[in-house]
C-alpha cells in the first residue's frame, strides 16, 4: 500500500515537544482540512482543553461536539472509552453503575500497562473504522509519550495472550500501519532541543511503531531580515559613525532599534543552523513544512486561522 498525501489520510497524529506549538498546528491542520470540505474530528488526548482553546470553544467532552462547518471536537476520556467499548462489545449491564467500574478501571489501568493507551488508540481507530468522519486529527501526547501510545496494540499483543482486548488489536494495528490511512506529523521549532528531540523521535517511531511519518512541520520560522550584502550595510549603520548620525536625527535614540534588529538577525541565524541540522538528520524524501513566526498572535482562533492558511499554501 502506497502512502497517500497527508490531506487524504483518515487518521493524523500530531505530536511535538512541549512549547513548539503542537496544539496550534493540530488545530490549524483540522481547520485547513475542514476548509477544504472534509468532515473532521479533532481529538484531544491530554484533557487540558488546549485544542478547544485553539478554537475558542468550551472544553470538549468525550462525545464529539460540532464547533463549525465540517469540524467537531472531542476530548479523550479513557474511562468513557472503556464504558463505550463494554457497551458495544460485551453488552455488560454496567452503564448505571459507574462508580465501581471507574475504580476497577483506575486500578487496572495502573496495574496493567497499555490499558489506558489501548483505550485511547482504540477509540480513535474506531472512529476511523466506522468512517464517522473523513479525517480524525489527534492532538497527540508530547514526544515523550507518543511512542508508547502508538505501539500500544503491539504491547498488548505481547502481554495479553487471549481475551477481548487481544482480539481487537489486529484491526487497530492494520489501520495504524497503513500509510494510505494513517500518518504522523511531528511539529518542531528550529531550536536546539526541539530539533534533537525530533530527530530522536523519528528514529524511535521507525524502530518501535508501524506508523508512517508523513511530515515534519517546522513552526516559528523567523523571516530573513538581511541579505548578506544588507548585513554589511547594517553593520556600517550600527557602527559609531552611523550610530551618531541616527542618534542625532531620531528623537529617542537609535539604541533599542538597532538592538532589536541585531537580536532578530542573531536569532534568525541560530534558527537557520538548527533547521539545517534537522534537514540533514531527516530522510531526504520526507516533506518538511514551514510555518513562519506569527508575531501578532501565538494562540487562540486567530493563530489557528493563520496556521491553517499557511498549511493550505504548502502542498501537502
Amino acid at each position: 500500500m502506497g502512502a497517500a498525501p497527508l490531506v487524504e489520510r483518515n487518521l493524523i497524529f500530531v505530536t511535538g515537544k512541549g512549547g513548539v506549538g503542537k496544539t496550534t498546528v493540530a488545530a490549524g491542520l483540522a481547520q485547513m482540512l475542514a476548509d477544504q470540505g472534509r468532515s473532521v474530528l479533532g481529538c484531544e488526548i491530554d484533557a487540558k482543553g488546549d485544542l478547544a482553546a485553539a478554537f475558542e470553544v468550551p472544553p470538549s467532552r468525550f462525545v464529539p461536539q460540532k464547533v463549525s462547518d465540517g469540524l467537531s471536537l472531542m476530548a479523550m476520556d479513557t474511562e468513557a472509552s472503556l464504558r463505550e467499548y463494554l457497551k458495544l462489545h460485551l453488552r455488560i449491564p454496567i452503564v448505571g453503575r459507574i462508580g465501581p467500574v471507574a475504580k476497577a478501571f483506575d486500578f487496572l489501568a495502573t496495574a496493567a500497562p497499555g490499558v489506558k493507551e489501548i483505550l485511547t488508540i482504540g477509540k480513535v481507530c474506531w472512529e476511523v473504522k466506522e468512517r464517522h468522519y473523513d479525517t480524525v486529527v489527534v492532538d497527540a501526547p508530547a514526544t515523550g509519550h507518543i511512542v508508547s501510545q502508538l505501539s500500544a496494540p503491539q504491547v498488548i499483543n505481547d502481554l495479553v495472550k487471549v481475551g477481548l482486548i487481544r482480539s481487537q488489536t489486529d484491526w487497530m494495528s492494520e489501520i495504524l500501519a497503513d500509510p494510505a490511512q494513517t500518518g504522523l506529523v511531528i511539529v518542531t521549532t528550529p531550536e536546539e532541543m526541539p530539533v534533537s528531540e525530533t530527530l530522536e523521535l523519528v528514529g524511535a517511531v521507525a524502530a518501535q511503531t508501524d506508523v508512517d511519518l508523513a511530515t515534519v512541520v517546522v513552526n516559528r520560522l523567523l523571516p530573513e531580515r538581511f541579505t548578506p550584502r544588507d548585513e554589511v550595510v547594517f553593520a556600517e549603520i550600527s557602527g559609531p559613525e552611523g550610530r551618531a548620525i541616527l542618534d542625532e536625527e531620531i528623537g529617542g535614540g537609535a539604541g533599542p532599534l538597532l538592538e532589536a534588529a541585531r537580536l532578530a538577525t542573531v536569532l534568525r541565524r541560530s534558527r537557520t543552523q538548527h533547521l539545517d541540522t534537522l534537514r540533514a538528520g531527516l530522510p531526504a524524501d520526507l516533506p518538511v513544512l514551514l510555518i513562519p513566526e506569527l508575531f501578532s498572535r501565538t494562540d487562540g482562533l486567530r493563530a489557528t486561522r493563520q496556521v491553517a492558511i499557511h498549511l493550505g499554501e504548502e502542498r501537502l
Binding site: F107, L108, V155, D158, R225, F295
Partner: protein, 389 residues
C-alpha cells in the same frame, strides 16, 4: 539603604532541595543546571543537579561525557576552562527510570529469588520501561534517596514532563494507595486460593473477559512477588511526601512569557499553594529586552520611518554606502522592531497579570544563541540574581 537580598540567593543558601517545575519547552532543565552552577560558584558547598532530561548538550556544557544514573562530579578543570570560579563542587546525575527501578527492587527484595522473579516478569519490564507513572514515582524516590545520603548541601532537581501539573508529587501516594488497594487483593486472591469471593466477583468477571485469565494470572503473579515489598513502598511514599513539605524544600515554577505556558504556570502555582508546598519563585525565561516596550523607543521607531528618506540620503553619503541598500536596511530595522515590540508588549502584559501567590517573579533575558558551557550557565544563573523589572 541596604540592597534587598536576591530571592534566588536566599533560596540557594537556605534550602536543601529546589524543584523546578512547569510546562514543557520553557527551559526547566537548563534553569536547574544554571542554578546549580550559580550555587557552586557563589555559595560553595556540595551541589547536585538531578535531571530527568537526557540532554546531551547539557552534559557537554557541564563538561561531562554524558550524564548517567550514577552521580558524576564536574571536574574543576572544566570550571577553570570556562573561566568560572568555583567555591564548592558541582555534580550531576540523570534519572534512568529502568535502572532506578531495578536498583529499587534489588534493595527491597527479601531474597535473590524474589528479585530475579520480579526483574524477569514481562509486566514489570513493560511497567518500568514504557509507562510514565512509574517515571514520576521513581523520580521522587531517587530524590529522596540522594537527599537521605546526607552528602549534599543542595540538590536542584528538574521534574519529568508530566501530563498533569503535579502528577509527580502524587506518584508516591498513588503508589502507596495502589499497594494497599482492596482491588489488588481481589485480583490476587483467586490466583492464590482459586476462590473468587462474592464481593470481587463482578470485577474479576469483567477483567477476565477483557484481558483474559492468563494475563490476569501474570498480573497476580507479579504483585504476589512484589507483596513482600509493599510495606517498604508505603513507608517510603509517606517519607517522600514529608520531604516535599519540609521547609528545606522549595518549588520554582519555570515558564516562558507566552500565553499557553503562562496559563499552565499559573495552574502549577495554584496547585502548590493548594498543597501547602512552598513556591520559592516564579522564573520566566526568554524574556525580551525591556527597551522594546520603552515608549521612547517606540517614538524612535516612528521617527525612523518618517525620516527614512532623509536618513538614508545622509547615511549613504556620509558613510559611503549605496542609498537604496540603506533605505532597505532602515525599513527592515523598523519592521523588526515593530514585530518584536508587539511580542514584548503582549508578554509584558501577560507577566503583569500573572498571579504568583506572593512569590517573587524573576525575569531571565532571552539568551543569545545556545548555552554551550559553564560560563553560559553561570550567566543565566546570574541573570536570576538581578532584581525583577
Amino acid at each position: 539603604m541596604a540592597e534587598s537580598p536576591s530571592p534566588i540567593e536566599n533560596l540557594l543558601a537556605a534550602r536543601e532541595i529546589l524543584v523546578t517545575c512547569g510546562p514543557g519547552g520553557v527551559g526547566k532543565t537548563t534553569t536547574a543546571a544554571a542554578l546549580g552552577v550559580l550555587a557552586a560558584s557563589r555559595l560553595g558547598g556540595r551541589v547536585l543537579v538531578l535531571t530527568v532530561d537526557p540532554a546531551r548538550r547539557l552534559a557537554d556544557a557541564l563538561g561531562l561525557k554524558g550524564i548517567g544514573n550514577e552521580v558524576t562530579e564536574v571536574p574543576s578543570s572544566v570550571f577553570a576552562a570556562a573561566g568560572v570560579p568555583v567555591v564548592g563542587s558541582l555534580s550531576a546525575a540523570m534519572l534512568d527510570t529502568k535502572k532506578s527501578w531495578d536498583d529499587l527492587i534489588a534493595r527491597h527484595a527479601p531474597d535473590v529469588e524474589t528479585r530475579d522473579r520480579i526483574l524477569a516478569n514481562p509486566l514489570y519490564q513493560s511497567l518500568t520501561g514504557r509507562f510514565i507513572q512509574s517515571h514520576d514515582y521513581i523520580a521522587m524516590e531517587r530524590l529522596y534517596e540522594l537527599h537521605a545520603t546526607g552528602e549534599w548541601d543542595l540538590i536542584v532537581v528538574d521534574t519529568p514532563p508530566t501530563r498533569n501539573a503535579l502528577d509527580f508529587l502524587d506518584a508516591p501516594t498513588r503508589m502507596a494507595d495502589f499497594f494497599s488497594s482492596r482491588l489488588l487483593r481481589w485480583l490476587i486472591a483467586p490466583a492464590r486460593s482459586g476462590i473468587v469471593n462474592f464481593a470481587s466477583k463482578p470485577f474479576t468477571q469483567i477483567a477476565d473477559r477483557i484481558l483474559g485469565t492468563e494475563f490476569l494470572g501474570d498480573i497476580a503473579e507479579f504483585f504476589i512477588s512484589m507483596q513482600s515489598m509493599y510495606g517498604g513502598f508505603v513507608e517510603r511514599a509517606n517519607a517522600v511526601a514529608r520531604l516535599m513539605a519540609d521547609d528545606r524544600t522549595s518549588f520554582l515554577v519555570v515558564s516562558s512569557s507566552e500565553a499557553v505556558p503562562l496559563r499552565e504556570a499559573e495552574f502549577f502555582a495554584e496547585q502548590l499553594a493548594a498543597r501547602d508546598l512552598d513556591l520559592g519563585a516564579v522564573i520566566l525565561n526568554k524574556v525580551l529586552p525591556a527597551s522594546l516596550t520603552d515608549p521612547a523607543a517606540t517614538r524612535s521607531a516612528s521617527d525612523l520611518e518618517e525620516k527614512s528618506e532623509g536618513l538614508a540620503a545622509r547615511l549613504s553619503s556620509e558613510l559611503g554606502l549605496e542609498e537604496v541598500a540603506v533605505s532597505r536596511v532602515l525599513a527592515t530595522i523598523a519592521e523588526s522592531f515593530a514585530d518584536f515590540a508587539v511580542v514584548a508588549h503582549r508578554e509584558a502584559s501577560a507577566r503583569d497579570r500573572l498571579p504568583t501567590q506572593g512569590a517573587p517573579l524573576l525575569a531571565v533575558p532571552r539568551m543569545e544563541g545556545d548555552i554551550a558551557d559553564l560560563s553560559g550557565l553561570l550567566a543565566m544563573g546570574q541573570a536570576m540574581l538581578a532584581p525583577s523589572p
